[in-house]
Symmetry: C2
């Protein structure tokens, strides 16, 4: 890999893009007047997800230059190195193999047989344990079947399974009692207490998730929850019946008394923010059942296959990454808004926020030199339509230029008599916002409109500024044909690979997170001196 660039500034396509960015460009209102041909050219589908990128501010010549950039940056070679298990996490000297976690159980991928065997063994253990819980054969200290699982973990040990449990909540049939899964991440006492106070200790299982099993926040919550168990009558020597550990450091969890048969493993080549596919997905597997969990993995695998085989010009993660680079590095847009228009995706934006910002919030190239260019954007947002009644005002009329990912779902599966009406409102608004942001409404058009509405010349002129919209806001729409385990898996993998491609072009390491270190160091110093 020594022939790889260290800064994309040295790549010819980068210079070309810089030149293109300085040239006058059409407003999206004109660009879109090209009509359906542009939409067709810029719309691609994979794994049940359709990307419509026609509202990005790219002309065909820019599209070509962006593809050249991906080629010159050896994105394909870097991708293959990841799948092969090369130690692409150079600052920690490790491979990055979350893709192996969702590999085909029947065929070993390029990561090899050792990884394959480990992955399939733990996956089987996770699924078996989820099934045992569902069957009521896992019991607490007094012999009662477990009914409630509390996942205690933070960051990557929380956001992934929690996001997916919400997104697939419709699969937990409320008519069947099943197992309720709760998530506690914050070490603030209220976070734990507000969950525990509603539970019966005899029927509660604590799942403690931590890669190192030294995470202070998680161990604080775990210790406090164990205290609650014993205060509620659980004999100390029976605590093991209520404890599960998920970790890459089983020696550490064993030291704290977590039984080996209830310890589920992952490995140092799985980053926390890429770990929902591993044993850390256990709470998700419990919430939606092992079969749905496997479908979630299969959806991600479909996206992996697309990423590895589709030409760059039709490759969803590559396209999204390139548009992001165009917006970030050439149109100077520092943030990326993600707005899902399906309420079950309520935690999708915070999930991607972590994945993207912890991965690409770096200012150092892989070789240790400072990046002379901007890297990962600030990712923010939240549910659509709600956003329209909140921060969209600033998107339309503030002094920022914010690219948007809209995420919509084409079908509707909620058993409500008027579900189709609801769905119509939601998707109409999604389309209308993407269109409004692109088109805007000029000062003069606004003035004419106000005159027509009966305002005087003076009034219309005074108000036109307040009621006009610059438009020209780039956006993409991701349409899921359904919101099911497979599409969700594919959607998450899509964003993972988008982040990978951007890091590959920027030549930064997306898989370390040294930035969390300084806060910890200073906290320790303060603790000693206080």
């Amino acid at each position: 890999m020594t022939d790889l660039h260290t800064s994309p500034l040295n790549l010819p396509a980068w210079s070309q893009l810089a030149t293109l960015a300085k040239a006058p460009q059409q407003h999206l209102l004109e660009v879109l007047s090209e009509g359906s041909l542009r939409t067709q050219r810029m719309t691609h589908t994979a794994a049940g997800i359709t990307l419509d990128a026609s509202r990005q501010r790219v002309s065909p010549i820019i599209e070509t230059a962006l593809l050249d950039l991906a080629e010159q940056a050896s994105v394909g070679a870097q991708r293959d190195a990841m799948f092969r298990g090369d130690a692409i996490n150079l600052t920690e000297d490790r491979p990055v193999l979350h893709v192996a976690l969702r590999g085909d159980p029947m065929h070993t991928g390029p990561w090899g047989t050792d990884v394959q065997a480990d992955v399939q063994r733990e996956l089987a253990r996770v699924c078996d344990f989820a099934e045992a819980l569902a069957a009521g054969t896992v019991t607490g200290y007094a012999g009662d079947a477990i009914t409630d699982v509390v996942n205690i973990g933070i960051g990557g040990s929380d956001l992934g399974p929690r996001m997916a449990s919400d997104a697939l909540a419709h699969l937990a049939d409320p008519a069947v009692p099943g197992i309720r899964v709760h998530y506690v991440s914050n070490p603030d006492a209220w976070a734990l207490w507000s969950v525990l106070r509603g539970l019966d200790a005899r029927r509660t299982l604590l799942v403690v998730s931590s890669k190192t099993f030294t995470t202070q926040e998680t161990l604080t919550n775990a210790a406090s929850a164990q205290r609650w168990l014993t205060d509620s009558g659980c004999p100390t020597d029976q605590l093991g019946k209520h404890l599960v550990a998920i970790t890459a450091s089983p020696a550490q969890s064993a030291k704290l008394g977590y039984p080996a048969e209830r310890t589920f493993l992952f490995w140092d080549w799985v980053g926390g923010r890429y770990s929902v596919w591993s044993a850390l997905g256990l709470p998700l597997a419990i919430a939606i059942g092992p079969q749905n969990f496997r479908a979630f993995l299969a959806g991600a695998r479909e996206m992996d296959e697309h990423f590895c085989t589709a030409p760059l010009a039709q490759n969803l993660p590559v396209q999204m990454a390139l548009h992001g680079i165009w917006n970030r590095n050439f149109l100077q847009m520092p943030t990326q808004l993600i707005v899902p228009y399906a309420s079950r995706l309520v935690r999708f934006t915070p999930f991607v926020q972590q994945m993207d910002m912890e991965s690409n919030g770096k200012r150092t190239h892989i070789d240790g030199s400072a990046t002379g260019i901007d890297t990962g954007p600030i990712v923010w947002g939240g549910l659509g339509i709600d956003g329209q009644h909140a921060y969209f005002q600033l998107i339309h009329q503030g002094r920022h230029s914010v690219p948007v990912d809209f995420i919509g779902v084409q079908s509707e599966d909620t058993p409500l008599p008027l579900a189709a009406t609801h769905h119509g409102v939601v998707n109409l608004n999604l389309r209308a916002q993407a269109q409004a942001m692109a088109e805007g409404r000029s000062l003069e058009d606004t003035r004419q409109l106000l005159l027509k509405s009966g305002m005087s010349e003076a009034q219309a002129t005074a108000m036109a500024g307040h009621r006009s919209f610059e438009g020209n806001i780039p956006s993409s729409i991701l349409w899921l044909d359904r919101l099911d385990p497979q599409r969700l898996g594919a959607l998450v993998a899509l964003y993972e690979h988008k982040v990978f491609v951007q890091a590959a072009i920027w030549r930064i390491n997306a898989y370390d997170q040294w930035g969390v270190e300084l806060g910890k160091t200073i906290a320790k110093q303060m603790e000693k001196t206080s």
Copy 2:
């Protein structure tokens, strides 16, 4: 008010600040070596809230110039005009009187007797109704006492009461059945269904909140929820027993069949995002009880009094506004991160996000001219500690400069045996992050540290870039002495006034929201043509 500036660019202090921003400035690491004198000078308390702004990147000379800016922009005169009820919302020709909603019930404020009488009448009706619900005297079509309230509203009709209900959830004693309050905002079918499926129609009250009572999303959810009531057996002529309207357009709600005695009013001089103090606070009053609701109002009133009387140099909202302007307009930081370290404040950031971005996401001065300067920032964030395991990586090491508001609580009231341990972890981390962000760790210090840890020269040099931190990230800490209704009211009012002061200096109208219009217009066009 005709003598007011139209652009702060014309104010002498603005030019002075621009000059100061260009001069070389000390790194915060050096600035903070001044020690406790600086902290004392830059720490101020009001209404149970202490602002420690010592980590902002301002020197005494910059502080003075910022105060000059506030003086020259007539912030005091503009504030008095708001409290007096002048039509400061010029594009809609209305006063802006949310402050009257929390006025002293015993003394009429500068807004006059008419407003006072309206406010106190509706407040009494809200409190009486909340009490009747708690007493079990409000019954459904089959004579059962109401146990569940579903608030249906979006944006300002949702975020305020929902945020506050979460923040004060400890006041709803789980041992006493009481009334459960649910919130539905998104028109996606799942959002409504996932709430209704757990409820008994005979015991459920729908509170439909909409200023205009024409909000499409809210009416869609309301119609669907009414359908659920009738499908569950409620005779059509008994529907009124299950309906409450909160609106500034009672004629409109009456047309849709909402009974007058169950219609609670607010007025066109209350903006949705400033309405939690009005009848729109009914779900909150139900959740925490009328006495606590009145304490919430009283806390905001304390902050109002502080805002109106404290010298600008010790005035919390003025200080926060000025630091925000320094960061936004002179240090060119486009976003503002808000991170509460108390899990009950889980919705505080989205709440302020709406309030700030819908208010100051404008690019037009009050006189209709385009602002030549940047206005409201992108507000984002979420719970602390969780953030440390997610996007803080980018704050520490990404290519952005992001000012932070940390929000902490000094006392801990959760009835958990180890609550003090939890609380120690939380507040230690808050302090450590503020410190780490300010100080950073230089390349050379990092290299030395790595050498000491046993790395070779070559390794340490290669790794230093990956493990150093620029620091110099400005932040403020807001300490609440308790998280109770009064402090929460004061905290919300603090941010309201911060937004006001910034708008007053930028000379934009914080109280309209024309930016939501274009999306609606295009949605209507699409609806017709589809």
